[in-house]
Every structure is written in C-alpha cells, then in structure tokens.
C-alpha cells in the first residue's frame, strides 16, 4: 500500500488511523458510480460504491440536484441484479435520494417531471419487489415505496398495503403499519380506510406488529374520544404482548383518564386499577411508564401515589444508571407537588448523592432539599459541600435554587444556608451561577430579617472582587436600599467608596447613587458622604460626574446639613411609575423648547405593541384601529384622534382605551368593532366600520345606541361618518356623560343606521338616490375592568409595603367548581382588568415568573396584580387561590390602594362578578 504523500504533522500511527474512506472525494466516487451502468454488474463492487456514496452523505456532504438525479437513475439500473445484499443497499440509497413528497407536489418545471419520472421508474421496480416471494424484499420495498409515493400512486398500491398489514410475516406487517403512520400525515383520508385491517393487526400474536398497529389505530381515531375510550377499555382487559405496546396503552389510558375528568364522586378513578396492575408487569419499561403515568394524574391522591412511589424507590437502588435516573427524575417532579409522599425514599436518595452520574446526584440532592425536614438540613449541607466542587455550573444553579427554597421554608436554618451560599460565592464560577447565588442571598435578606446584616456583608465582600459589572451594580443598588436601615450603616461606606476608585464607569456611577442613598437616609453620615461625593466631581466619566452633581444638589450638599425632605427620598427611592418604553417614546417626541419635559405626560398604560410608526404631522392616519386584524392602535394615537374632534375636546385627559371589541360576526356584510374610550366624566364609543360589499356605498353612517340598560349614562354627542365606500374603514363616534370619577357600568344595544347607494361595479360610480337601512349589531358592555389601567410595578413587595396597611381590605370568596386553577386565575384577572406582576419572593417559589402562570397540578396559587383605577388611584391586589378535591375553588383577596373606597370597590366588583 502506498504511503500518503502528505506528511502528517503529528506522530500518530498511520496504520491505526487508516480506514477505507480515508481521503475519499465526491467527484471520484461519482465517477466510480459508472459501474452501475456496466452490462455485467459486479454486485460486490456496486455495493461498495453505494456504501461510499452513503458515507459521503452521512458525513454531511451534499449532492447537487443534477448529481443526485444522475446517481438516482444509475442506481435504479441495479434492480436488475438479484444479489440481495446489493438490493438492500439500493433501497437505502433510494431513500436517501428520494424526491420528497413536497418536491413532487410543489415543483412545476423540469424538476417536477424529473422527480415524477424517478418515482415512476422506481415504483414499478418496487411494486415488483412488493409482490415478491421474499419477505425481506417485500418489507423493504413497502417502506421505500411509501417514502416516495404521493396520493395518486398511493391509491394504486393501496390494495397491496392493506394485504401487507394483515400479512402473516410480522416484518412485512410492521413495515406496512409503520408506513401507514407516516402516510397518515400526508394522506389521512386514504390511511383511514385501512381501519379494519389495522384493527385485525392489533390482535396479532407478533409483539411488534401489535405495537405498530396500536399506534396507527390510535392515530387514526385520535380525534374521536369515544372510539379511543372504547379501544382502551377493550385492550386493558385483553392481552397486550409487547412491552412497547403496553407502554403505548398506558399513555392512551392516561389520556382517557385526563379527558374524562375524573367524574366519579367516590374518588375511584376509572382505569386506575389497570395502571396499578402495570406496576407488577415483568418489563421495567412498562413498570416505569405506569408509575410515571400515575404521578402525572391530575389531582393525584396520596393513596394513589403510594404504589407508584414504592416501585420507583426500588429503581433508585438499581445497578443501571438509566433506571436510577428515570426514577429520581420522576420523584423529583413528584416532590414539587407532594413532598410528603417522597420522604420515604430519603435514605435511598442520600446514597445517590455520591452517584458517579452527576445528573442523578443533582436530581437526588434537589429532591432531598424539597422533601427534607428542619433537622436534616445541617447534615444535608455537609454532604452538598463536598459534592459542589465536582459538578458543572448548570447543576450548581439547580442546587442553589433548591437551597433558596429550602431556606425560605426553614428560616431558622438561615445561618448554615447563608454560610453555604457565601462560601460558594467565593469559589470559581460563571456568570449565571454567580447570579443565581447573588439572587438567592438577596431574596433571603429580604425575607429573613435576621439574615440581613450577615448577608449584606457577604455581598460587600463579593463586590470587592467581582468580575461581573451587572452583578456589582445590582448589589450596589440593593445595598443602597437595605444598607441605611441596618444598625451600623457606616461600615458599608468603605466597600462602596472602594468601587469608586477601582471599577469601570458603570459600577462607579452606581456606587455614587448608592452613596447618595446613604446620605439621604442617615443624617449622621451626611457630612462624610458629601466629602466623598465632591471627590467624584472630578471623575473621568461624565455620567459619574453628573450623578455626583445631581445628588449634591438634591441633598443640599452646599454645606448646610438639613433634614432630607420627602421629595428627595421619593426621587431617590421611589420606583419609576411609567413604563420605560413609554418614557423613551415621549422623550423622543419631545422637542426642545422653553417648556420643560413633563414626566406626567408620559402614558402609564403598557401597550400591546410599542409605537411602531410615527406618522408625519398633517398626514391623516388611515384606518385607525378600524381593521380588526390590523395593529392595535396606541393610546397616543387615540388621544390625538379624539382631541381633534371638537365635540370631545373638552372631555379632558383620556384615561384608557379598551382593545377593539367585535360587534359583528366574521365575514358579514359590514364589519364593526368598537373601542371604549374612558374619560373622567365621559365615555366615547368609537365604532370602526368596514363595508365589505363592493356594489354598495354607505353614507351618513351612525350608530343608534339604546342606553336604557345603562342608567348612569346619557348620550351627549354623536359624530356620524359621512361616507363609507367599499373596503375603506371609517369611524363614527357616540359620546356619553357619566358621573365624574364613578366607575359606572351598563349595557348598550347598538344599531347601525345608514343610507345605502348602489355602485356600478364597472364605473365605480354611485347612484344618486339611496335607501335608508339599518343593521343590528351586537350589544356592548362597559364593565369595571374598563376603569382599570394595567400598570406594572417592578417590585411588587416593595410597592405593597409602601402602601398604607390601613387601606388593606381582605375577604374570601368561593368561586365554585372550576376546570382548573389556571382558569379561575385568568377569570379573576379578566374581571379586574389588572396587570399580573412577577412572582416575588414573598410567595416563596417560582420567583421571577409571571404570577398568572399556575404550575401544573398545583392546588394552590398566589397571584399578584397591579393597576391604576379611575381617578389615578394606585392599587395592588394579592390573590390566594386554593382548590379542594371536588374542584371547588376558594379565593382570598387582599387589596391595598391609595383610597379605601377603591379597595372596597374592588371587592364589590369581585362580589358581583
């Protein structure tokens, strides 16, 4: 064998590195493929060339369309050979090169014809094979054929496929069934005709045929609940042979259980006995599938769980890592909802901490942290410390999060847990990991008063040597809020001022702000803070200098030591109560002039979409919110539009505009939706109308509103739409007066009234005379939620605590039986029209997630809402939901607001909703 000419630059043994495809090249192999055309085929040689081609494809090499087509045609010649090995390779090659169904259907040109020819040529050969006496040919031909076939060809071969499904050879039957599963995606109506044969195959004695038949039968019937339920009922009583089929049946059974919704009152769940009997199956795969299915039953009881937990516990001590992993992962999930049920496994779990597979060890630890009791914490922490040094960051983050929840559960243990966190904070780690630790410490400090001083010092030490700007600024900000409230604020100053010397500009600016906060709150420190801030006036960065100047002025750093007044405190500590997006837009729109920028002019409502387009002044905004599918118009745009109408110009500032409400069904003659604009003592309905009939022109369009079911409202103005041509949206308005500041509600019935004129479609001209006509629209309601602005707060807990506890009103409500907690939560949110906030650490778990999201299977939930009520009254709501075994939902509602009347108004809304 010739040595390669290229000298290798490493000293590896060339002999060991040699393999048959070393240095092969596409062009050369394509040349070699000419042997396919030889009159006397060398089957062995041909097989080798196909293998080389497949090797190239497998390595990610791609063939051009021409190359692929040429190879394809050449390969089809090989059907002449009777060598079974070669035939197998031909099948593989055709599958790799086959024109996909898409190509056949979409292509219109030569490629369409070419691919069709390909299919035709290969189809006839394959059909021959499909009817061959050799089962191996038949099974493979079916699989290849179904891969390349389209609807028309499929009808031609359908007869053979139906036969194949019930063929006595299991390989042939499986091939047909699996192909059926794939074909169901593209040609469902054809495959559905095979039900009888598939049904027969479900009874097959061959294990895998039964599995494939069951899968296909279920997919054919998946939209027919009753049929699936029947299928499950009959099969759970019968004999299912293969473990795979048994797993499938377990999945279908849980689906039936889920859909039946546990309708028996006695607590006996249909099919539970079947699932439980599967726990005694001889195949581990089935046992596990059943155990997992039981743990995932919605509203599973402890009695139902016990047998499943018992088998999973046995798996924990298996010698197979896969089994241990599967079991511990499932138990970990159970521990989130039913920690007590898992405590029996704690001893086995503890031995898994030293498992060589780190995924298993991490899952075991986090499970233990969820189920552990107060007395075991110290021992657990000792074990974890050894463990932490040899796992990857991603696992460490999971552990840190578990420790955080544990600490919140057992606040008395904060000392050892806080020590643990500060120790790992000092060790090496990436940003995400460090962030998780810092977040956890911050949460613990906020939640456990005793932990505050030690926690703050840990953080101070961390920023002395912290490479992440983001974390440093976060910690400095947090220090500014918590530090001044400690017993000895002065000890933090050194850490903070060190940042001003040693860090980049971002951190320096942040340190300046923190210093100012200490200065504002701690009078005794003021003179020293002023000295430090004055030094910052000579910083090299303008932001740092600006901040120092600003704070010196607001704090009165001109020498006189005065009490810091409340405005300054508000300025330093208050959260920005306008969304940043809105502030940005308003600032961009602000033109420099004598008049200073007024932050109160920034809208507080968050928009579903940010201001996308700023129209040039003077240009009328076409189709404002008229098309229901169009982008949601913004408050700004509405405000401009309404104030441009003289009738409405004296209504004052627009408080809120609702999203459009459809008043017509889709695809009717006239499409109308309405936007409710709420002012302090007025309500304006903006009807967005679209005429969808090309032969008509509507004129003098108005909406006649009957407000007899809305006593507090009286109509004051109506602005008709002069002309409404085809497909050009227009608006008509009706305004009502209502008592000032009162959230009046009511129901309005609407009638569209207009003059209709025929339009000649050829000329587009309308006739002179029109006919008066009316069109009934759906009713419209003004509800309490219309008076609520969705205004988020960045930190719910801070906001909550800064509100007067006196204003708090708490009451409990029964919401009756509900489908799920999610449904109950969203119903209340919709009723109140408030903004769901992020979970805070108050709620213990799921910190940072939207509080409107209810975790699966959970039976209790806390939801936090914020909003501004008409009259600019800020309010916050805490909702605690609980669900009992009969799905009755109870809710505790606590509300705080600037105005006690508003608090009780919220309760009224909920009580009447």
């Amino acid at each position: 064998m010739a040595q390669p000419l290229v000298k290798k630059d490493d000293d590896r043994d060339d002999e060991a590195d040699y393999h048959p495809f070393l240095g092969i090249e596409k062009g050369a192999v394509l040349q070699e493929a000419r042997v396919f055309n030889d009159p006397q085929l060398d089957a062995r040689r041909c097989s080798q060339v196909i293998t080389k081609l497949l090797y190239l494809l497998n390595q990610g090499e791609s063939f051009t369309k021409i190359e692929a087509t040429e190879v394809f045609f050449a390969v089809t010649k090989l059907f002449q050979s009777r060598d079974i090995g070669l035939r197998r390779m031909v099948y593989l090659m055709i599958k790799e090169l086959s024109p996909s169904a898409d190509e056949v259907q979409i292509g219109t040109d030569i490629s369409y014809i070419a691919s069709n020819i390909k299919v035709i040529i290969v189809t006839s050969s394959l059909m021959k094979d499909m009817n061959s006496k050799t089962d191996m040919y038949r099974a493979n031909a079916i699989r290849v054929l179904c891969r390349i076939t389209d609807g028309t060809l499929l009808t031609q071969i359908e007869r053979y496929l139906k036969q194949a499904i019930v063929d006595k050879n299991p390989v042939v039957a499986s091939a047909a069934l699996v192909s059926g599963i794939h074909l169901l995606q593209t040609n469902p109506e054809i495959v559905k005709r095979w039900s009888n044969e598939v049904q027969e195959a479900v009874q097959s004695r061959a294990a895998l045929v039964q599995f494939h038949a069951l899968a296909l039968l279920h997919q054919i019937r998946q939209n027919d609940r009753l049929a699936v339920s029947k299928l499950v009922t009959s099969l759970t009583r019968g004999t299912v042979r293969s473990p795979l089929a048994q797993c499938l049946l377990i999945r279908y059974t849980s689906q039936v259980i889920r859909e039946s919704g546990g309708n028996t009152q006695t607590g006996d769940r249909p099919f539970y006995d079947y699932l439980e009997s599967c726990l005694r199956h001889k195949a581990e795969m089935v046992i596990f599938e059943a155990a997992k299915a039981i743990t995932e039953l919605s509203g599973v009881t402890n009695r139902e769980l016990t047998p499943a937990i018992t088998v999973l516990q046995l798996f924990l001590s298996s010698s197979k890592p896969v089994l241990r992993f599967a079991a511990v992962r499932t138990l970990n999930k159970v521990a989130m909802t039913h920690p007590m049920a898992v405590t029996n496994c704690n001893i086995d779990m503890e031995s898994l901490i030293s498992d060589p597979n780190r995924s298993i060890a991490t899952l075991a630890i986090t499970t233990l942290l969820k189920t552990g009791n107060e007395s075991s914490v110290d021992r657990l922490m000792k074990q974890i410390t050894n463990f932490m040094s040899d796992i990857a960051d991603e696992f460490k983050i999971v552990v840190v999060e578990a420790i955080r929840s544990l600490c919140l559960k057992f606040p008395l243990k904060y000392r050892s847990l806080m020590n643990f966190l500060s120790n790992i904070l000092r060790e090496e780690g990436g940003f995400e990991y460090k962030k998780a630790i810092v977040d956890s410490i911050v949460i613990l400090i906020s939640d456990i008063p005793d932990a505050k001083e030690s926690g703050l010092l840990h953080l101070c030490e961390f920023i002395e040597d912290c490479e992440f700007t983001y974390l440093s600024t976060q910690i400095l900000h947090f220090l500014g809020i918590e530090g001044p409230k400690t017993s000895d604020p002065s000890k933090y100053i050194r850490y903070i001022y060190n940042r001003v010397h040693l860090e980049n500009a971002t951190v320096r600016a942040s340190a300046v702000s923190t210093l100012a906060k200490f200065g504002a709150l701690v009078d005794s420190l003021k003179p020293r803070i002023f000295i430090l801030l004055r030094r910052c006036l000579f910083d090299s960065d303008d932001e740092v200098r600006d901040r120092a100047t600003l704070y010196l002025n607001t704090l009165g750093g001109d020498g006189s030591v005065v009490e810091t007044d409340n405005d300054v405190k508000d300025f330093l500590f208050g959260s920005l109560d306008v969304p940043l997006v809105n502030l940005e837009t308003s600032l961009k729109n602000y033109e420099p002039s004598e008049e200073p920028f007024d932050i109160n002019s920034v809208p507080k409502e968050i928009k579903s979409q940010p201001l996308a387009e700023k129209k040039a002044p003077g240009k009328k905004q076409p189709g404002l919110g008229a098309s229901p599918s169009g982008p949601a118009s913004t408050v700004d745009a509405y405000d401009k539009l309404l104030s441009s109408i003289p009738e409405f110009s004296n209504f004052g500032r627009l408080f809120k505009s609702s999203p459009p409400v459809e008043l017509t069904e889709a695809e009717t003659e006239y499409a109308v939706n309405v936007v409710k604009h709420i002012f302090d003592s007025h309500v304006v309905f903006q009807y967005n109308c679209t005429n969808t009939i090309p032969e008509q022109l509507l004129e003098n369009v108005t909406v006649v509103v009957d407000a007899s079911e809305a006593e507090d409202f009286s109509e004051v103005a109506s602005k008709p739409l002069r002309s409404l041509p085809y497909d050009t949206p227009g608006q008509t308005f009706v305004a009502f007066e209502k008592p000032e500041g009162v959230p009046a509600v009511g129901k309005f019935s609407n009638m569209l009234r207009f003059i209709v004129k025929e339009v000649d479609p050829s000329t587009g001209e309308a006739e002179e005379d029109g006919v008066e006509d009316e069109y009934q629209l759906e009713d419209l309601e003004v509800v309490a939620a219309d008076y609520m602005l969705k205004v988020p707060v960045s930190n719910f807990r801070n906001a909550w605590e800064s509100m007067d506890p006196e204003s708090e009103q708490v009451d409990e409500y029964g919401l009756g039986p509900r489908e799920s907690l999610t449904e109950a939560v969203s119903a209340v949110i919709n009723l109140l029209g408030m903004q769901p906030c992020e979970m805070d650490y108050y709620s213990g778990h799921d910190y940072g997630k939207g509080s409107e999201v209810v975790p699966n299977n959970s039976r209790s939930h806390t939801c936090l809402l914020s909003g501004v009520y008409i009259g600019n009254v800020k309010l916050l709501v805490r909702l605690s939901f609980g669900m009992d075994s009969s799905r009755e939902v109870a809710m505790k509602l606590a509300v705080r607001s600037d105005d006690v009347n508003v608090s009780s108004a919220i309760h009224d809304i909920v009580a009447s909703g």
Partner: protein, 177 residues
C-alpha cells in the same frame, strides 16, 4: 404524551467525536452544522463518563440522551424530554448488541467503517422515521445479515423497460400541457 415513543436521532461517533454513522429523524437540527454542533456538545459532555459496562444517561437542551461506549466507538440515542428513558435505553441496547453481533465481537472504529454497509442497514432496521421498528439485537442482526441470493426473483429487465415507457409517456404528457 399520547404520542408513540419516538427517537430523535441515533449517533455512532468515534473517540474524537467524529461521525462514523448518524441518522436523524427529527427536524430539531435542520442543517448539517446544527447536527454537528449537537454531536459535539453531546460528545464533549459525555466523553469523560464511564459508559462501558452499563448505558449512561444525560439531558441536553431538553432532550434525553442515552449512551454506551466500547473501544473507540460511542453510541448515542436521543429522545424528547418526556420520553420514557427505558425505551430509549432499549433502542440503544438493541443497536449496540446488533453491531456487536454483526462485527463478530470486533467492535471498533476501523471494523465499523470497513463494514459501514452493515452499520447503515442496522440503523435502517431499528428505527423508521423516528418510530421504533425492532429492538431485539438478534432479529436486527439476522435481518441485516441475510445475504443469500434470492432464487425466486425473476430477471427484472422487462420491468425497467416497461417503466421507462411509462415515464416517456408521462414526460410527453407533461410537456404538451
């Protein structure tokens, strides 16, 4: 959960993470570079583990990967997050043992590449489009290895000429349209 157990890919890599044979059944990795990135991530993370006596398991990007090594060959089977781990392990075991049978116990990279046709056929017999076809290694290996001549099949010369005739007719029709 209601769906049929499915396999997202089967990988056979060498001791440097290079492909010996791979087969993807899912669209999660649409391009070759996405596939290679996945293979690299899986290989580097599992490289140091001892998966020689028992199959090991790990999670990657919401996928479960079960794997087993022998000599300089690394076998992987990937499934979705909610897939039954033991089913995936059985697919892996079927593949692993079938390759062992087909290579007559000489399971290493060189032998695998020299018999790449057998490996590819083996993959083809285990999973079809993500659906498990067979997990019994003996059955898989015997399906792949049945290499005898088929006496029953007639010479298919006629088949081809018939096919070409049909194709020509079809071509003419399409062009006339």
């Amino acid at each position: 959960m209601e769906s049929c157990p499915s396999v997202k890919n089967i990988l056979l890599l060498d001791s440097e993470g290079k492909r010996v044979a791979v087969k993807y059944y899912s669209d999660d990795w649409p391009t070759n570079s996405a596939k290679e990135a996945f293979e690299k991530a899986v290989f580097t993370k599992t490289q140091k583990t001892n998966a020689r006596t028992e199959a090991e398991i790990a999670m990657f990007e919401n996928n479960i990967v079960v794997y087993k090594f022998v000599q300089d060959l690394h076998f992987f089977v990937t499934g979705g997050e909610s897939e039954n781990e033991l089913i995936l392990a059985q697919v892996l075991q079927g593949f692993f043992d079938a390759v062992g049978l087909l290579l007559r116990g000489n399971v290493d990279k060189k032998e695998a590449l020299e018999n790449l046709d057998l490996i590819l056929l083996c993959l083809d017999e285990i999973v079809d489009g993500g659906i498990i076809l067979e997990t019994d290694s003996n059955v898989i290996a015997s399906k792949v290895a049945s290499n005898s001549m088929d006496a029953g099949a007639p010479l298919s010369e006629q088949t081809i000429s018939q096919a070409l005739a049909t194709a020509r007719e079809h071509l003419a029709r399409s062009l006339l349209k």
